[in-house]
Symmetry: C2
């Protein structure tokens, strides 16, 4: 039994990377500088309700802009422990140049079991941030587990350059395939067949190939579902309607004549 098992080998030293859901939840950001500005944007991109605690005079231009636009709620003073009395606060992000105050806030959060991140103090963080590429529904987060935020940003830029253009839109289109499949095979007992077919689809094409497929291609692909088969990429593209004769939902054999006429 000393043989290597077929199961993945544990690679310690990483983080648990997760997509936290903070839509409509309250996030308290303490501080209003450049780091706070980045945190605030991350939270707004995830539809959180953000409150910033910081004297107005210390807000950087981006934070001041978001306050002025009403994108965040602003409390114009330094942090007070009573700021945590609101039991609906889901997360606290601290970015102030005051290690003693930061540690106090961290401890208060831990007493209340509120997830918190104290910028630049790894030992006072339930979680770290990474560098995130965003394109519509697609989010790609790069973490180097402490080897440097600049390095993470470089890798993020590298990845963004490799991605097919318009990747976000393509994901929406591909996502539609699942939705449409559920429409044509809605029954609970269809579940295993649906899953098996979707797996076959994901094995038949690479992702960048799928990005080239149009909504029409997706509809053509769905016609294969009853048979449980998946056409080759060329086969699928070959089903595209000839633009000269407009959309042909079903090839009825009259194609050559109508074009030739």
């Amino acid at each position: 039994m000393a043989e290597k098992p077929e199961f993945p080998v544990v690679q310690g030293g990483g983080s648990l990377i997760i997509a936290w859901q903070i839509r409509d939840k309250k996030v308290l950001v303490v501080g209003g500088g450049e780091v706070a500005a980045g945190r605030i944007l991350h939270c707004l991109n995830a539809d959180a309700r953000v409150t910033v605690v910081s004297p107005l005079a210390r807000l950087n231009p981006e934070v001041a802009y978001r306050v002025a636009q009403g994108q965040v709620t602003h409390i114009d003073r330094n942090f007070q422990p009573s700021d945590l009395d609101d039991s609906s606060i889901a997360m606290v992000l601290v970015a102030v140049d005051d290690p003693a105050a930061s540690t106090t806030i961290w401890k208060l959060c831990k007493e209340r079991r509120i997830p918190a991140n104290i910028a630049d103090v790894p030992s006072e963080c339930d979680f770290y941030f990474g560098s995130v590429h965003r394109d519509g529904p697609l989010q790609i987060m790069v973490s180097t587990n402490g080897k440097g935020p600049r390095l993470a940003a470089m890798i993020r830029r590298f990845i963004a350059k490799q991605l097919p253009s318009d990747a976000g839109r393509a994901i929406e289109t591909i996502g539609q395939l699942r939705v449409k499949l559920r429409q044509i095979a809605p029954r609970q007992e269809d579940g295993p067949k649906r899953m098996a077919w979707m797996t076959k689809v994901s094995e038949a094409y690479s992702w960048d190939e799928m990005c080239d497929l149009s909504e029409e291609d997706m509809d053509n692909l769905l016609r294969y579902y009853p048979s449980g088969k998946v056409p080759s990429l060329d086969g699928l593209k070959g089903m595209r309607a000839n633009p000269e004769v407009g959309q042909l939902d079903v090839f009825d054999g009259s194609f050559g004549f109508s074009v030739g006429a």
Copy 2:
């Protein structure tokens, strides 16, 4: 003032993607099937102390293997509310085919403010998982924000193929640059100069270019720090010692002669 500001525009609809720190923290996994196996691996890769609650007979081979290897603690029965009495539990992950039991566990977790994920029930999740590429210190997480886990895995595979080979090792090497820089410029007041130079480095080379650099190249690069300058990639490579004459720490002008001898 109706002009477009220079600040990033908020793109709602995303998640807050974070690198959760669970080293040496207790994670309770309820269930022992295929989904649980994936969750357990994610947690072990982040050095968590994992307890699996599930009847032995229902463990899948991978989970049974990890139990047998002592990689996780096993409680051989169904979940009981008293499993949450341990106040040091940092996270709960549920993957059982029992919606009623799942909802009960979710509510118990929320009463106790324990972050939790109930597989396949988005409304009962503080966070979602994505598809993660791992290579040493590098972790890249792909989320399609609900457009399908298979799609996220496809994109993860696509990205993994684009990455320079041995990327993890390269990140270690590049990370060393920061460490060595701190050694040659350790003073607090050097901070701004260090940061400015590191920024210049990250702007001078792309990440895949940096992956081609050896430790020797990094040492050569560091010689430019006092001047605040950064050489071109070709310039840096040109400093490489001629292997025929061994390592040349400093070019002393005798290079041509020793080679020609």
